[in-house]
Amino acid sequence: MAENYEAEDRTEDAAFIERIAASLRAPEHAQPSFEERLMEQVRSEGSALYPGLGSSDVSWWRRKRVIRLSPLTGMAMAAGISAIIALSGIAIGSRIGAPNRNVARTVQPAAVPDTVQLVRFVFVDSRASSVELVGDFNEWTRGSATLKLSGAPGVWAVSVPVTPGRHEYAFIVNGSRWVADPLAVRTSDDFGTESSVIRVRVPGKSET
């Protein structure tokens, strides 16, 4: 008898989900002007990307390209590179010093399985009552990485598994204050909100 009820439940469940899914299967169309707008952009970039076979007998990836950089762009690139190197320096030689307010450090030590690395995020704020870490590696979800006081006053830390590559993150202090890591490279989203950038290396590779 109980088995019959279970079987009926399962059938009802499937029927219920099917009703929901059927409603969501209704066709949707892109906006009428979509193709026109898209193709305009495609044409503006297309000739440079796909010049056609007749234009050269050299493979596209072997063709020489002239890249012009303004002095400002060059400086910006150099600054970017040194920021990445500086970040690696922090990872190698990080030591938590006297707790200044609002100092955060990202230490990248422990090795972990396969492609994931355990990254230790450290945040120093003697007046904080709680610190959370949000980033693209936890889908910016609050509550999934809460920093804990790690001994020294005002020093908060948490270790989080992160895949190699570029990641953005920030701290949420006292439940509401958004703080980008002051010691890491900064980036802004479309709305001007600043976050920090960490590049996690593939174990065994020197590239940042």
């Binding site: 219920f16 892109a30 596209w60 889908e139 949420i172 909100t193």
Partner: protein, 183 residues
């Protein structure tokens, strides 16, 4: 041009016939639009994501290793674009929690026992409350009707994790929508 296969259209584009890309757009835009709409819950957002996804596909067309399966490759790009978009949204919500709370309240399900004629609206609102990974898995499985193996290939998530996500999504939707259907 419409009779050409995806692989033929791709070859034409790579050979410099840029307008052939329009054939690929026409063939795939509606399927991608539906997924993006259901994922993001907004036509305008879906439109932005589609534009960005198709441009990424165009720029990376040489990276499409299997032109006969351009649709699957494009799906992968659309899913990634939706994830990036949702992630940005989430970041914005974390930055401005009061606005996020207002949005959450706005999508609360109808009161128990009430049968609303706008069942589709209820379903879309309930869908929007799911975590994005569960919503993605549910849509690919039950709306786009892909197999778990196909979804795993596209998303890079294991079959067992996908099954768990779909089950959780179904449980949540049932909890939110039972009142709507069974009054």
């Amino acid at each position: 041009m419409t009779g050409s296969s995806d692989a033929e259209l791709i070859a034409e584009v790579l050979n410099g016939n840029i307008d052939s890309f329009a054939g690929l757009v026409r063939r795939h835009q509606d399927a991608c639009a539906r997924f993006a709409m259901r994922m993001l819950g907004s036509r305008v957002d879906a439109d932005d994501v589609l534009q960005s996804a198709f441009m990424r596909a165009f720029r990376g067309l040489r990276g499409c290793k299997d032109p006969e399966h351009f649709g699957g490759w494009l799906y992968q790009i659309v899913i990634n674009e939706c994830r990036t978009y949702a992630s940005r949204q989430r970041r914005r919500e974390q930055r401005f929690p009061s606005a996020a709370a207002a949005i959450e309240n706005a999508v609360a399900p109808g009161s128990e026992g009430e049968v609303d004629p706008d069942v589709g609206g209820h379903i879309e609102r309930a869908l929007s409350t799911l975590p994005s990974d569960q919503r993605e898995a549910f849509l690919l499985k039950h709306v786009e009707e892909l197999t778990y193996e196909e979804i795993a290939e596209i998303t890079g998530v294991s079959v067992s994790a996908l099954k768990m996500r779909v089950k959780r999504a179904c449980d949540t939707l049932r909890g939110l929508l039972e009142g709507v259907y069974h009054g």
